[in-house]
């Protein structure tokens, strides 16, 4: 039971990541392959603040998300000049850079040794240490994120995002400042990814660079594409199915040296089949 709740917490964190990437990729049509880097920034910021200065994780979470959105601004700046696979590659590159920084700036991040003993969230008189309590917290954050994303994409602002996705020149020609919108999208997306990162850090209580490898960003993109791009419900489906389903491999009794690569192979194969058969995902409204 404990284990099942743990899987739900992890999928909740992935749902937040998927929802925020869906805003960038699915609704605005900007292929971003560096999403996990924002989560990395959020996780390290709030963990370091809690470990070194004793700052409450609640405040750390907000500060981490804000720092992540500064990085989102930088990535968005790159996205102004690039399109298509060049943008995908540049964002992937920024993800590699952040990963390298977390691994090599040993004085700050302790490098591959990681940061152990990160304190958990507390509400007055109670520490959210049991898994069920943390699950409640994550569910609250998932619903806040889903609510905000829904409000964004159904507002006039969201319609402009979709118009940028469908035809950038046309939206420019009706006087929309697409540069501003692209920057905004990356800032918002990075903000929520930062929240997901710090939720992860305070849950696992240990982070090291290996949780934020660049390939993890491809996994988040797979979740977005699998569920369906440009659809908030799709983000839920993608994250839940792709986190829970491979866990079943565990019950086949395979040793972890077999189960781990097998799981990745399924992801890879799924990505290929999806691209050939259904590039818009299960209930997607947009395809690359």
């Amino acid at each position: 039971m404990e284990y099942f709740l743990h899987i739900l917490v992890i999928s909740g964190i992935y749902i937040i990541l998927t929802l925020s990437l869906n805003l960038i990729v699915g609704f605005t049509g900007l292929p971003s392959l560096g999403h996990i880097a924002f989560a990395c920034v959020g996780a390290y910021t709030s963990s370091l603040l809690a470990l070194n200065y004793g700052i409450s994780p609640w405040i750390g979470l907000v500060i981490g998300a804000c720092i992540a959105s500064i990085f989102g601004f930088v990535v968005g700046f790159v996205s102004i000049r690039l399109k298509g696979d060049y943008l995908a590659l540049a964002t992937f590159g920024l993800g590699v850079i952040i990963y390298a920084v977390s691994k090599n700036w040993v004085e700050l991040t302790r490098g591959p040794m990681g940061l152990p003993g990160i304190p958990g969230f507390t509400v007055p008189g109670f520490e959210l240490r049991p898994v069920w309590a943390y699950l409640m917290l994550v569910i609250v954050f998932v619903f806040i994120t889903a609510f905000i994303m829904n409000r964004i994409v159904n507002s006039p602002f969201g319609r402009i995002l979709k118009s940028i996705r469908e035809d950038e020149l046309a939206s420019l020609s009706i006087g929309k400042d697409i540069i501003k919108y692209k920057l905004m999208v990356f800032i918002i997306g990075a903000f929520f990814a930062g929240i997901a990162g710090s939720l992860y850090a305070h849950y696992i209580t240990f982070i090291d660079p290996s949780s934020f490898t660049p390939m993890e960003s491809v996994m988040v993109l797979l979740m977005v594409v699998f569920g369906g791009m440009g659809n908030t419900k799709g983000a839920f489906i993608g994250a839940l199915v792709l986190v829970i389903f491979p866990e079943m491999l565990r019950f086949l009794g395979l040793p972890s040296s077999v189960a781990a690569p097998l799981r990745q192979m399924i992801y890879g194969l799924l990505l290929i089949i999806l691209m050939i058969k259904r590039p818009q995902g299960i209930i997607g409204k947009y395809r690359f």
């Binding site: 292929p31 790159v78 000049r81 690039l82 399109k83 298509g84 696979d85 060049y86 995908a88 590659l89 540049a90 590159g93 920024l94 590699v96 850079i97 390298a100 920084v101 691994k103 090599n104 660049p214 390939m215 491809v218 993109l221 594409v225 040296s257 077999v258 690569p261 097998l262 990745q264 192979m265 992801y267 890879g268 194969l269 799924l270 990505l271 290929i272 999806l274 691209m275 050939i276 590039p279 395809r287 690359f288």
Partner: protein, 292 residues
Amino acid sequence: MFNQLLLNGIISGSIYALIAFGFAVIYKTVRFFHFAHGIVYTAGAYCAYSLSISLGINVILSFFLASAFSAVLGIAIDRLVYLPLRKNNASDLVFLIASFGVFIFIQNLLQLIYGAQILTLRTGVVKEGHQILGAVITNIQILILVVSCWLLVILWFIVERTKIGKAIRAVADDPIGASVSGIYSERIILYAFGIGSALAGVSGVLISYETNIEPTMGMNAILKGIIASIVGGMGSVPGAVLGGFFLGIVENLGIWKIQAGWKDTISFAVLIIFLLIRPEGIFGKRNDKERL
């Protein structure tokens, strides 16, 4: 110290140039980022390991067999994954994502077969290198330099001077025009994948004599290959080669004053600077910029 770093830069540059050459030849004909090129490189190294260490086949023979295997693997990826996508008229991004899928799939297949531990093709003790102008170079490194430069010259000759190369350039310039004049573009794509993937395999085998083999080695290699191609100018084969050497040298001189762990950061900084300031690369033509 400077000479040593420069020499190291040229050696890693020659490997990057080989990878970038193959990547650029493939890119020329199909016009998308064949990310799985990196996994062909890894598979080539593992194939050579199986042949020469596990089966004890002669080193030179296993070298050729491994590069042939890589060529077949590259062609198989094209037939099984990219051909259906071409039929669907998929966009570049769909190709790129599918290519990531191939990469993840084969990388983990290799990990399943060989395990995650580090292997090497080296047998016996490492001999001390030769002194040249204050820099040390080992026999293996001389071999890498000689083989890669020789291959680059031969392949440059194939691409620039033979009929196949002409057909590849024709498909690159104008696929429809090429097919009107009787060039069967699917066959040219096949050649491009064969040549490019064989090169990836060769560079994988060469590097395995110098460093180690591990399932994750392909990632770094293909990223460097792509960066070299972009720096040199996308779709320009001589540009990719020069970009490879440029990247290798910049990366190695960059770690003169800072730790070696920052190498990748340096090359991605180079990429992002180029993408923002000169996206068409050193040798790219201005009209290539339309695609950006």
